[in-house]
């Protein structure tokens, strides 16, 4: 149940199966898939000397190279490959599809291979982007895809196809034939569940795995049942880097600064061997991160000191031996120091601490008058527009049914603060998408007597950290799942329910995108005593990921974009 390893296995196998000088041809999607799990140098060490896009017609003839072509079986890629076969540029072709290929496409390909250049055709089910070992995304976002069609409860057909294919390949790559559950109020979740179930029936020979003790579970959740998590400012390292700087295909671009006028691009790898510091700190919160990075710098400095005194040949030898490691360390230290300093600059500049405190209060406590006053005050302050919209969005969600809700006033305040009207309008769209009517359960713990009592209890216990009070709804869902208490009334099965509810391998998939906050929940859950004892492992996925949403990007017409523009924490809900 490690998605990075699963994809890596496929990639390594396809490259190692062919020896000699090789070129690797990819399409738009597989380029991202591959770049998530491997590096240029790994490819080089396996004799892959050229990497190019299949659709690039400018490629030159290199008959002495063998070509490994890894593409999604989309009509475009098939057509490009047919064109390639008509005028082959490489000596031999080894064709790998990332998903199930249609019989008709195979026929078309075979007919165009007059020179008999294709040596093998295989399906390797690596059709998703593996971000962390337990986190993946399908990158369904504009401009390539829009998630919804005309209303926020129906799929746009291409996105549905892509999601189904992505899930099917996920299941195959992890060798799972699961039972499928979805959220009762989610039409999109149900549709997707049906599609996946259908493919599993159609391609039953592919899904013949040895049955374990318990059948795996695919749980399809809908973003609209938890619109709050993506609106909150996150304080863990990976989530912050993504939210404030943007992680795109594992790379982060640092904005230009005084001592670095050009701005740099750094690679963030979650692999422990490539970047041990990041791997061990990605889920640390900002405060602990500061302490850790200081320690890290200290180690570096002590090493640097010993390297300064070179007097004898022996010293020199020692230096040479340690030098590469030292260089690597110094590169890594400077990378993280600049990342963290950039983060703290943003935290200060955007007044994130104050904003976050209010966000948490809106998400967790029911205190209308105080919250309203704070929101009004912060709108007047020089914080980014996105933060203001987010605050009002949270307020709107929280006090949607509060009789004294002052949402119209707040909206006009936003307009007065110079925020364009189409951005202000996202808030009403958000309510339409994920308002109280649309949601399945009471997200805010109830405003009734019981709910108030519960929040009162919380107040008594006191909170550890005012900025991280909120826990995503996923956490609760997973806990009830672990205790076999997830009711079929809210989370029905698409087929007949199995005899026992006990689960071990769980794949959770969010229609509408997944956040790093939820990734952390899953990571903590997998590491928890209770889950370990029961042998429960969770892998989390979502329709979107990778690209940070930002207000300065061109506004699209899709629903998704507009919601996303106020939810920066949501992976690419834009």
């Amino acid at each position: 149940m490690d998605v990075i390893k699963a994809v890596q296995n496929y990639v390594n196998k396809m490259i190692a199966d062919t020896s000699g000088m090789k070129a690797l041809l990819l399409d738009v999607d597989t380029t991202q898939i591959i770049s998530m799990v491997t590096t240029q140098s790994t490819l080089l060490s396996q004799e892959v000397f050229l990497t190019d896009r299949l659709e690039n017609a400018e490629r030159e003839k290199m008959r002495h190279l063998k070509c490994i072509c890894f593409v999604r079986p989309t009509p475009e890629s098939i057509q490009h490959f047919i064109d390639e076969l008509r005028a082959p540029k490489y000596g031999e072709y080894y064709l790998y599809f990332s998903n199930i290929i249609k019989k008709s496409s195979l026929e078309r390909l075979a007919e165009s291979d007059e020179y008999e250049m294709v040596k093998s055709v295989q399906e390797f089910f690596a059709d998703y982007l593996a971000i962390n070992p337990d986190l993946l995304s399908l990158n369904i976002h504009p401009p390539q895809y829009t998630l919804f069609s005309d209303s926020p409860s129906t799929w746009s057909p291409p996105s549905l196809v892509r999601s189904t294919e992505g899930l099917v390949s996920l299941l195959l790559s992890l060798k799972k034939k699961p039972v499928v559950r979805y959220e009762k109020n989610s039409a999109m979740g149900k549709k997707l569940a049906q599609e996946v179930q259908y493919v599993m029936g159609q391609e039953s020979p592919l899904f013949e795995f040895r049955r374990g003790e318990t059948q795996p579970l695919l749980l399809i959740l809908d973003r609209k049942n938890d619109p709050v998590t993506p609106l909150l400012t996150q304080w863990t390292y990976q989530a912050m880097v993504h939210e404030l700087l943007g992680i795109s295909n594992g790379r982060v671009t640092l904005p230009p600064s005084a001592d670095n006028p050009k701005g740099t691009e750094v690679v963030l790898s979650t692999s422990g061997t490539l970047d041990p510091f990041f791997a061990s700190n990605m889920y640390e919160n900002f405060g602990d991160l500061g302490a850790n990075i200081k320690e890290y710098v200290d180690t570096y400095q002590s090493k640097a000191k010993t390297n300064k005194s070179i007097e004898s040949i022996a010293d020199m030898k020692r230096f040479v031996e340690e030098y590469p490691e030292f260089r690597r360390l110094s590169g890594n230290v400077s990378k993280h120091v600049s990342l963290v300093s950039e983060l703290s600059r943003r935290v200060e500049g955007d007044n994130l601490l104050e904003t976050s405190e209010l966000e948490q209060s809106l998400a967790c406590n029911d205190n209308h008058t105080a919250d309203l006053r704070s929101v009004q005050r912060l709108i007047q302050q020089p914080i980014p527009d996105a933060s203001k919209i987010r605050l009002v969005a949270l307020y709107a969600l929280r006090y949607e049914s509060n009789p004294s809700s002052a949402l119209p006033t707040l909206l006009s305040l936003l307009s007065n603060a110079g925020i364009p009207s189409h951005q202000v309008a996202t808030i009403s769209r958000l309510l339409q998408y994920a308002g109280q009517r649309e949601r399945q359960e009471d997200l805010f713990g109830g405003t009734g007597f019981l709910g108030r009592a519960r929040s009162g209890m919380k107040g008594l216990k006191g909170v550890e950290n005012v900025y991280t009070q909120h826990t995503p709804r996923l956490s609760e869902t997973l806990t009830s799942l672990l205790r076999s208490r997830l009711p079929t009334t809210t989370h029905p099965y698409i087929s007949d329910p199995p005899s026992q509810q006990r689960v071990q391998d769980v794949l959770v998939f969010f229609v509408g995108g997944v956040t790093y906050a939820e990734a952390m929940v899953v990571n903590k859950f997998n590491a928890s005593q209770e889950a370990m004892k029961a042998g429960v492992r969770v892998v989390l996925g979502g329709t979107t990921g990778m690209h940070r949403s930002s207000l300065d990007r061109q506004l699209g017409k899709s629903w998704l974009w507009n919601i996303g523009s106020c939810g920066a924490g949501l992976l690419s809900l834009r």
């Binding site: 080089l44 002495h64 082959p88 075979a110 007919e111 055709v121 040479v320 031996e321 590469p324 590169g331």
Partner: protein
């Protein structure tokens, strides 16, 4: 003829056969039309060599040369299989199809017989027999020397037969019923192999085009032989220009039309290939292979004159030019053109092979070196006071460093090869990068091992060195050399890091690294000079 065949490779010797009727095609084609097999009336008796050896007769053309054979139909003698084949193709090309079948089986047997003889033995016996003086048939006269484009490799390379062998042996087997084999076991990931069904699908298409190719080739061959015989019987002066004139237009036309019926001019309004209307400026032409009316516009290349070099008895023979339409050209020459596309980067490939050899060598040497070190460590631990002789480890280390140096040199040569295209240049740079990477991966642990083995190793090395070279000055020289080596290694590592940094676009790092690289270069130079001075001083 031999001189000619040498220059054109093995393909040309079999050229007439390529153009010939299907009986000379490879086994794949013969198995297709075995439905009408009949015993031939003219099958010679005698030895019955195994037919199975017919599989790749073309793979050893040298062995079947110089062996007297005779035609089964007219008993005409020929000296080589090629000559006989050509004779069959030209003189007996129009056998009724039933006769052809028997003919083929006879041919196959003789082929087998020819192969079963040892060439070395025969060469002694047959020395002095010149195959072409005796060849009275057209076989000797008519050979196509590197036609432009070449009509070659189809039969020589096994052509169609290779279709069955394209499935790499490493791919999983398929079920007998043709269903895709599923790879499901706990160790490997799920995948599905479509190669088998793909090849089956492709075979249909390739089969069809192959048959078409055969048909057209045969027709073209007939036409060419007709034309060339006419030339040969013509007594006019052997100057190509005049000769074309001497053969009257109508005469040639009649000959051409005897091979393929020409399409009626009047029936065609548009060029079937480019779809443009014929007019005064866009004239109608006939493709001499398929007989269709096509235009001859140079811009669309719907049809054009193709030169066929016909090698007669004399060297003065001229090429025959025939108009061939685009479609026929593609069918006839497309595949061979494609296959014969010259590889101009042979140098790069050769060097790359060298590089791989050194890499393998290093990979096999490194573990041995470690073993040796471990052994030494163990010995040292046993006898704490006594240093074990470091001879073997030293030797290995030297060899390793040598290999690394060679490896590095080759990789640099690859990078510095002149590249004719951007992609090739990129490739060469990538190979160099791989080499750099490989070296930094393998050199670093080598050094750290030495360190972990500790200074005792160095002293033991020193001791070993002392044993060999007793004089003090030589020792100093060794030291300098060692220093130089260290510098070289260091320089190399830094170079690797520069490239790394460049890849990661850390430009500030690149700057500092480049600077340190320059310093290292300087240092290395100084040390090298010092070493040289020492050596000179010694002498």
């Amino acid at each position: 003829m031999h001189a000619r065949s040498k220059s054109a490779g093995p393909f040309t010797t079999t050229t007439p056969r390529t153009l010939g009727p299907p009986q000379s095609s490879s086994s794949a084609s013969s198995s297709r039309d075995t439905s009408a097999v009949r015993r031939p009336p003219l099958t010679p008796s005698g030895s019955e060599p195994s037919l199975s050896s017919y599989g790749q007769p073309e793979s050893s053309p040298s062995r079947i040369q110089d062996f007297p054979l005779s035609c089964p139909i007219c008993n005409h003698s020929a000296d080589t299989l090629q000559a006989l084949n050509a004779h069959l193709d030209t003189d007996h090309a129009e056998l009724p199809s039933s006769q052809k079948e028997g003919f083929r089986s006879w041919f196959e047997k003789n082929m087998g017989r020819a192969r079963s003889f040892q060439t070395t033995m025969l060469q002694e016996k047959l020395r002095g027999l010149d195959s072409f003086d005796r060849a009275g048939s057209l076989a000797g006269l008519l050979a196509f020397d590197t036609p432009i484009p070449e009509l070659t490799s189809m039969s020589a390379s096994g052509g169609y037969g290779s279709c069955g062998t394209v499935v790499p042996s490493s791919t999983p087997n398929t079920d007998t019923d043709g269903k895709e084999y599923l790879y499901i076991d706990s160790a490997s990931a799920v995948h599905r192999n479509h190669t088998e069904s793909f090849v089956a699908l492709r075979r249909k298409v390739v089969d069809k085009s192959y048959l078409e190719l055969r048909r057209l080739e045969k027709r073209l061959h007939k036409l060419l032989s007709l034309l060339s015989t006419t030339y040969d019987h013509d007594p006019s002066p052997r100057i190509s220009l005049l000769r074309t004139v001497t053969l009257s237009r109508t005469q040639q036309k009649a000959l051409e039309q005897s091979v393929i019926k020409w399409e009626d001019d009047k029936a065609v309004v548009n060029c079937p290939i480019c779809r443009s209307m014929f007019s005064f400026s866009r004239r109608k032409h006939h493709c001499r292979v398929c007989g269709r009316v096509v235009c001859g516009s140079p811009s669309t290349d719907c049809s054009s004159g193709v030169e066929f070099a016909v090698n007669g008895k004399d060297a003065l023979s001229s090429p025959i030019i025939l108009r061939v339409c685009h479609d026929c050209k593609k069918t006839l020459f497309g595949k061979n053109d494609f296959k014969n596309h010259s590889v101009t980067v042979a140098q790069c490939i050769k060097l790359y092979d060298n590089l791989l050899q050194y890499k393998r060598g290093i990979e096999s040497m490194v573990p041995r070196f470690y073993e040796e070190l471990d052994r030494m460590q163990a010995v040292r631990n046993l006898e704490s006071n006594h240093d074990p002789p470091a001879g073997e480890a030293l030797r290995l280390r030297r060899r390793l460093v040598d290999a690394f140096a060679q490896y590095d040199a080759i990789s640099k040569r690859i990078r510095n090869l002149p590249a004719e295209s951007l992609a090739q240049e990129k490739l060469q740079i990538a190979i160099h990068q791989m080499a750099t990477q490989f070296m930094s991966v393998n050199l670093v642990p080598l050094q750290s091992v030495q360190r972990s083995a500790g200074t005792p190793l160095t002293t033991s090395q020193g001791a070993a060195v002392d044993e060999v070279q007793n004089t003090l000055s030589e020792d100093a020289e060794t030291k300098l050399r060692e220093q130089l080596m260290v510098l070289e290694e260091q320089r190399f590592l830094v170079q690797g890091m520069v490239e790394d940094a460049k890849r990661q676009r850390q430009l500030d790092e690149v700057a500092t690294l480049t600077k340190s690289l320059e310093e290292l270069d300087l240092e290395a130079q100084l040390t090298a000079q010092a070493t040289a001075r020492k050596r000179l001083g010694l002498k």
